[in-house]
């Protein structure tokens, strides 16, 4: 597997990756976990390469994670301040892309509020593009870090029964995770009220439940999703307290999963809405902080892999 040549220039989604692609990234991620636990966390594989972070949506952990990943690999990392940039002055997305492209970065990490926007940008630039979340479409590095987290705990994800619970409808994390876990051979379940269940979810290769207790039966891993505040105002859900009563992860509901089942959450959490604090902070069952650690490692793996595939910058224009 070490000799396997990752065949993609961009990482726009889990969709389109095969098992070998995913496992290659996980293997490399595993190695970077070890590096990150040393006192000196430095590799020089990206020395001289430029990584640009372009976050059109506010983000703390993902943006920080990519920055750290890039710096540990020795890249020159630039985070574009979108909030005060020309984008605010009315520049179109394409013009921004052309401008950045002219600066000849090697890798571009993009988060954008519109589904498909990252793919659009990837067609206009010469460097490798990494989707750090586009609208309600995909968030591939989250799915990969989740898979790495689970794999390091249970060994083989194949045959594991994994539930993804909450606002599936608006979740790019859920879409990427379903695709990733399916490729790795897990049995995936989706648990949500009908208003937050996407049409056709039953054809995603996952079993769909509305009753959380039934859905959690026999699960080895429970992945909770963040519920956005604006969903609780009566349009999709009547109230936060009703949501917690029926779909918030508490001791009682978790007792329906397998004994010792692991609990995950991509963060940031709404404690008391989708998850009870006692579970979020559980010493042995909660993998939530571990997910953050794996995030840096998997992003290092992604950056290194795509940097190898990035073409010689500017070749097209000469």
């Amino acid at each position: 597997m070490a000799d396997y040549a990752f065949p993609h220039r961009h990482l726009l989604g889990i969709e389109g990756l095969n098992r070998l692609d995913i496992e290659t990234l996980l293997e490399l991620g595993d190695r970077y976990v070890e590096l990150n636990r040393r006192r000196v966390k430095h590799a020089d594989v990206l020395a001289g390469r430029t990584l640009v972070n372009l976050f059109f949506e506010n983000s703390t952990r993902t943006q920080g994670s990519f920055e750290i990943a890039g710096r540990r690999l020795g890249a020159d990392v630039v985070t574009m301040p979108i909030a005060t940039s020309s984008v605010k002055k009315g520049e179109t997305l394409i013009d921004t892309a052309m401008t950045l492209n002219a600066m000849r970065p090697d890798l571009l990490v993009i988060r954008h509020g519109s589904s498909g926007a990252v793919k659009l940008l990837s067609r206009k630039v010469d460097c490798g593009v990494i989707n750090a979340g586009d609208g309600t479409h995909e968030h591939p590095t989250q799915a990969l870090l989740d898979a790495l987290t689970i794999r390091r705990r249970v060994g083989d994800i194949g045959g594991m029964r994994i539930a993804i619970c909450g606002d599936i409808l608006h979740s790019r994390v859920a879409r990427s995770n379903v695709a990733c876990l399916n490729v790795l051979g897990a049995e995936v379940r989706l648990i949500a009220p009908r208003t937050l269940t996407p049409p056709g979810a039953a054809e995603w290769g996952a079993e769909v439940f509305t009753d959380m207790r039934k859905g959690l039966a026999g699960c080895d891993v429970v992945m909770m999703l963040r519920l956005q505040q604006e969903r609780m105002d009566g349009a999709y859900l009547p109230s936060a307290r009703e949501y917690f009563h029926f779909w918030g992860l508490d001791e009682d509901k978790l007792s329906h999963a397998n004994p010792g089942a692991f609990v995950m959450h991509p963060g940031p959490m709404n404690r008391g809405v989708e998850i009870e604090s006692g579970i979020a902070d559980h010493k042995t069952r909660s993998l939530i902080t571990e997910q953050v650690e794996m995030g840096v490692a998997i992003r290092m793996a992604v950056l290194e892999t795509l940097a190898k595939n990035a073409p010689d910058i500017g070749a097209k224009n000469q």
Binding site: P193, R194, T195, T210, D233, G234, A235, Y236, L237, P238, S239, R241, E242, H245, F246
Partner: protein, 428 residues
Amino acid sequence: MSGRTVIYNARVIDPATGRDETGGVLIENGVIADVGAGIAKTTAGDVKIDARGKALAPGLIDLRVKTGEPGSENKETLATAGDAAAAGGVTTFVVMPDTNPVIDSVALVDFITRRAESVAKVKVLPTAGLTVGLEGLKMAEIGLIREAGAAFFTNGDKPVEDAGVLRRAMSYAASFDALVASRPDTPALSMNTVMNAGAFAARLGLRGAPLEAEWIALERDLMLAETTGVRLLADCISTARSLAAVERARKAGVKVSCSVASYSLFFNELDVGDYLTYCKVQPPFRGEADRMALIDGLKRGAIDAVVSAHDPQPTEDKRLPIADAAYGAVGLETLLPALLSIALREEIPLAVALKPVTSGPADLLGLPQGRLAKGAPADLVLFDHAAPWACDRDDLSSRSKNSPFDGRRLEGRVLRTWVNGATVFERG
């Protein structure tokens, strides 16, 4: 209620099974212990009641009642509505949420339940608003309220106009398999109308509600029920085409049931006659062809529930020019006599005519009552199925007297009513 009560020499009618035979019912501890031809004067018991050949059926279940409690107790309270129900042979009724405040929370559902238990002679089930304050904007806490005991969710007489809100509320309700009732109406077409639109309304010079007001809303509701998978009760449909639409949807697998107000089976638009404000109701009395189509539906078993649509209004809100008068008619005491009159006139077997007021609504709500079965609660009504009488509003138990049946002749009268084996009404 301890001891054994034997009601014998009765014409025992059980719509759930189609039973119609001479016999009786044995009541033990408030529950039906036995039923059928085997129950006779000789059956062992502490109390024996000779039914003298009169009809004995399950107490009626009425899926649409308004009281004024809380907020308008001058119209009707849970206690006076309970009295009216008992006098009408209704042993369970469902109250609508459009009170002041609106029943749209766990606490208010709990209030209605407890209040009714302490003051009403019969069983009362609360419903809850589908949207907060019936404003049609935000869905109510459907899951928690359902656990608190709401029979179903409805926006009452204020239809949810925003299809997006309705679609999400239905979809969410489907998460719990909750029943959603919707009275199909398009306010843009029916606002400020007095009666059915047509030649007669035109001659009277009154604004009429067109049939499309019902059709458009019903078709929308049926489509949303189909796509969301919710259980829908099309509440108080009043036209031939509405019934056909419900039957078509049901055949296509949509989980839809329908109710019809008893006045829609009894009256047509001509009964509004001399500007009678007691005949100003929503939906309005329709044309004769629509009325006959609904009666045909009753014969065929296509109507799941016949309701009183009991809506008490005090004199000051009714003794006005018809355009200014309030909508609504009381109906708890005339629900059974109206059905019995229709059954007699249209030659409908009693076990068929009574199904939509007994096992029909019981099955919709998953209730144990509404049937003469061993183990079911002894909620019973004894009636003379053909006794002629003239309705006089002053004799009604309701606090409000706005009955369109005032002065009309009816066939069929309640003699005695039992709830959990205890007599709650007996005609003197």
